[in-house]
Every structure is written in structure tokens, then in C-alpha cells.
Subunit: 182 residues, 2 copies
């Protein structure tokens, strides 16, 4: 998000077919809640296409990429790493420290969102293993709450550039405006 | 959540097979983030079973129910209604009013989470149509951020009763305790 150091979300693991919607939702949630980029495993091309289409219609900047080297991507990250897991430290106990590193020290942040199998190396490479609650729920919900806390709600006011269409908030009904590019 | 008026989440619409995981994640997110109950459409029995199993293992109180009468459930709701939709008013503009009605006026809250087709009647029956951003993302992410704002983060400290097992937060690794019932 503008004014903040980079935030990249890495979806770790993807089973084509079974995970298509969850992976797509991870990407769209990353975009809507202030991240700058999402990286999917190489076999998630369908989700990549959906996220790219939404970004083209509703604006950016937001990047979506594929990688076949998830572990190398994590090892080589130049910044700090948060791995979201129900086994981790409580969000409310570590979030101020995470914000300090991100906002004050201006370090780029990689947020790793697990699929089914996360290797122990991910736990070790992460600077923080964080539980958005220590209950089983949804990686999409965990990512959403994490980003909202990271940005302290400021991402809700985010504006998008180069959109083809924009939703105008309404108390009742639906209103979508076509955006005229200058 | 204890100390708050009831919050029920209604999943509006479900396509068996295609929506199983999303509907399950709506239910698990409702449970983990402070709601008291989730209601699914009658054809979502598989998701109901998963949520009931998780509640038995990780504790409650939390109820999961099925209904074949979604519209009647909404019409007959004794309290106030928030419908989450990307076309609605901005969360940050209406959340203090919603908290006032819930916390101060002590009104039970029904949160309607759309699936594919939401009838216009739902928009009309809702006291608030609310967008957690006006961007397309995920009903699970929207529900998570909404509940976290409703409870102002207090739901993260929630404790569960009658759990068989409990995750102990860890900086590194996984620790799960079996709970001895007295």
C-alpha cells in the first residue's frame, strides 16, 4: 500500500481443482486489504488469471506472480517474514512488534499463508509464526485480520489506480461506475 | 461471545460440491471470531458436520444449524441485521453505529453472508448493507474483518469451554494439549 514498505503474500501449497477458490480468495484478499503482491505456486495458473483479471477491472497497483521455488523464495527474501499458523504466537501479543519493524524500520514484509503441507523449514525461516487465534478456521480469514491489524484499518480507505470500474458505496442496492480514463 | 448480545451468522446460498469449503470456512470463521451460531442452507449438511466436529474437539459454546427457509429466517429475525456486500456502505463509516446498537442497545445481530445469488429482499430486510471494502474479494475475509471490528479485537482473547484439545501458542513449532475434563 502507498506510504508503506512492500507487503508480499506467498500462498504456500496449492492442489489444482480442490484449492482453486481458496487460492483465488487469498489473492483477492491480499489485493483488497493492502498487500502489494501475491505469489502463487506454479500450478495455480487459474487463480493467477482470475486475480489479474480483477486487478485489470478494479485497479491496482497489485502484482500476481507464479513461482516453482517456494522454499527458495522464502530463503532469499530480503526483509522479514511472518508465517500465519494456528500454532503460532497470538497476533495480539506480537502485532505491535511487527508494526514497529514494518513501519519504523521500513522492512519489506513477506506473509506466508499455508496450504496443506508446510515444511518445518518455513517455521524456522519465519521471524514470526503468528496465530490469528489458535483455533482452526480459514487461511483467508487469518490473512484478512492480519493485514487489517498490520495497517490498523488504513487499508480500508485505499484508492485504486487505472480501474475500469468502481463500486460506489450504497445503503441500498448496487451502483457501479465505469471509469473514464483520461 | 460471552458478555455480548447474540451474534448469528447466516450463510445465504450454497451449491453442494462447489461451495463446501467456502461454507465450512464461513462457519469456522464465525466460531473462531466471536459469533455464537452459524446457520447454513439445508443442502450444506457436509459443512454442518465439519463445523460440529471442530466444535466438539476445540470447544464452544457454538451452534451450527441448517434451515430450508433462508428468507423466512431473515424476515423473522428478532434484532437487527447486517448484510455483507461489496456494494454496501463502507465498514469504517457505519461500524460505530453498529457497535452502538449491539453493545449499548443490546440487540441480537444477524450477519448475512452472501453466496452467489442474493435476492433484493435481503438488501431491503437488512438494517445495514456493509462493504468490507468495495472491492471483490472473499466472503470469508469480509466476515472475519467485520467480526473483528464488531468486537474491537476482544474476540481474539476468547476462551473455549469443553474442549478436548487446545493449541498452546508457540514461537516455533506445534504444541497441542489434551484437555482433561474434570
Amino acid at each position: 500500500m502507498q506510504g508503506y514498505p512492500e507487503v508480499t503474500v506467498l500462498r504456500y501449497g496449492h492442489r489444482p481443482g480442490r484449492d482453486d477458490r481458496m487460492t483465488t480468495h487469498v489473492g483477492l484478499t491480499a489485493r483488497a486489504l493492502g498487500a502489494d503482491r501475491v505469489v502463487f505456486p506454479g500450478n495455480a495458473g487459474q487463480s493467477e488469471q482470475t486475480v489479474a483479471d480483477i486487478t485489470e477491472r478494479f485497479g491496482g497497483p497489485f502484482d500476481v506472480e507464479l513461482t516453482d521455488e517456494l522454499d527458495a523464495f522464502i530463503r532469499d527474501w530480503d526483509g522479514f517474514i511472518v508465517h500465519l499458523t494456528m500454532y503460532g504466537e497470538r497476533l495480539q501479543d506480537v502485532e505491535s512488534e511487527i508494526r514497529r519493524i514494518h513501519d519504523d524500520q521500513r522492512q519489506p514484509l513477506l506473509v506466508v499463508v499455508g496450504g496443506e503441507k508446510v515444511s518445518f523449514e518455513v517455521y524456522e525461516e519465519a521471524d514470526f509464526n503468528v496465530g490469528v487465534t489458535n483455533q482452526p478456521h480459514s487461511e483467508v480469514a487469518g490473512l484478512a485480520v492480519f493485514l487489517d491489524h498490520l495497517f490498523d484499518g488504513a487499508e480500508l480507505d485505499q484508492e485504486y489506480e487505472n480501474a475500469e470500474q468502481r463500486v460506489i458505496p450504497q445503503a441500498l442496492g448496487k451502483r457501479v461506475e465505469e471509469v473514464d480514463e483520461e
